[in-house]
């Protein structure tokens, strides 16, 4: 029987990876479709809600926008936050992480002569940002919100794994955030996925 969920994206981590981490953490089966940008995307594009991927197909409905998809899957897997307030806190932390993700992605997208400037911008932005996140991080060690794994932890792990490539010591004096980086891969589903997921440029 085909899985109920079909996630379609390019063969990249990027905007689909938090959703893949959610499925993995919960052990929920899904079809991880990776399309070729050159040969397959042009035909698919007009059939997507907003001409973009990732999309998630479920029960005859197609959802687009990576955070909308991730939030839906987080709710399906019980990883969205346990109360309405916790869900709002998860949402706001994920929203904020968009800024960090953007600064890190800018380095990759920049032309060679601009890369150093983008790296400096990340180095200037990250410390204050992460200091605030350390303060916002909840009292339960290893979890940004509540006392168990949420989408916020997975999103944080995904972004920080990339940020740490440029700023390796940045979590040294931020113990709660550093602990999240341990807690996430300690989840068996996540660990299995990290070990077997395709190698991709980003």
């Amino acid at each position: 029987m085909a899985p109920k969920y079909r996630l379609i994206y390019f063969n990249l981590r990027a905007r689909a990876e938090p959703t893949r981490l959610l499925f993995a953490a919960a052990g929920l089966q899904y079809e991880d479709v990776r399309i070729r940008r050159d040969t397959e995307w042009p035909a698919l594009k007009p059939n997507t809600p907003m001409g973009q991927v990732p999309v998630l197909e479920v029960d005859g409905v197609t959802i687009c926008q990576s955070n909308a998809i991730a939030r839906y899957v987080a709710k399906e897997t019980g990883l969205a936050g346990k109360t309405n307030l916790e869900q709002a806190q998860v949402d706001m932390l994920v929203d904020g992480m968009g800024d960090l993700r953007g600064k890190q992605a800018a380095i990759r997208k920049a032309s060679e002569d601009k890369k150093d400037q983008c790296k400096e911008e990340l180095a200037a932005f990250a410390p204050n940002f992460l200091r605030r996140y350390e303060e916002l991080s909840g009292p339960h060690a290893g979890h940004l919100v509540g006392d168990s794994l949420t989408w916020a932890d997975l999103e944080f792990y995904d972004v920080m794994a990339k940020v740490l490539m440029y700023l390796p010591g940045i979590l040294d004096n931020l113990p709660k955030l550093a602990k999240v980086m341990d807690t996430v891969p300690a989840n068996k589903g996540v660990a299995d996925w990290l070990a077997k997921r395709p190698e991709t440029p980003h």
């Binding site: 809600p49 479920v58 949402d91 929203d95 605030r132």
Partner: protein
């Protein structure tokens, strides 16, 4: 019932979507508008050094769309089923993209020639294509999710009216009948209609 306190500057900006949801929900809230010189003192105590923030029951939330979603959820305006909620979220995110594209490619562009070119492209190519996609997502009753007003409909109305003042003419909904209905549904909602009449006139 908790007491809600929304804090932003004296403008619509990124807070207006929250104010519109409160209006549609008929929920009382304190609509705090800071002078710019009051902001530095408050800033360190906010979660991410930004506005708007929502305070309730000793908790502070930030990020305008997260706040809007929370308030909408409390009022049953965030979508009735998980899939409807995902539809609402995707439309909200799409509207943010539309706003960001305007802001980064046009509003912040200093080169006047580039600015004019990008504006033309936005109005003549990008928006019609995007509205065409959105028109398919909206029902012919004028709802993006289910058959009742949700945050998605409000987000559409809010972003379009946010961008319009910066253009030579308001964005056209000709050929997008479902989107015209969405706007009707939003502006004829009693709470929103009242708010639109009463809200302060502000430059942004």
């Amino acid at each position: 019932m908790p007491s809600y306190k929304l804090t932003y500057f004296n403008g619509r900006g990124t807070a207006e979507i929250v104010r519109l949801v409160f209006a549609a929900a008929g929920t009382e809230y304190e609509d705090v508008r800071l002078e710019h010189d009051q902001w530095p003192e408050l800033k360190p105590s906010t979660p991410m050094g930004q506005l708007p923030i929502l305070e309730m029951d000793g908790t502070m939330l930030c990020q305008s769309n997260s706040i809007a979603r929370y308030v909408a959820k409390m009022a049953g305006l965030a979508g009735k089923t998980p899939l409807d909620q995902a539809r609402v979220d995707m439309v909200m995110d799409g509207m943010v993209d539309m706003g960001n594209k305007f802001a980064y490619e046009i509003y912040y562009e200093k080169d006047e020639d580039k600015k004019a070119e990008k504006k033309k492209d936005y109005v003549e190519k990008y928006v019609p294509q995007f509205f065409s996609s959105l028109n398919k997502l909206a029902s012919d009753g004028g709802y993006f999710a289910g058959d009742e007003l949700t945050l998605a409909d409000i987000a559409f109305y809010n972003m379009v009216t946010m961008v319009n003042p910066y253009l030579e003419q308001p964005l056209s909904l000709d050929g997008f009948p479902n989107l015209e209905k969405v706007v009707d549904n939003v502006t004829s909602n009693p709470g929103i209609a009242k708010w639109l009449k009463e809200r302060p006139e502000t430059p942004y």
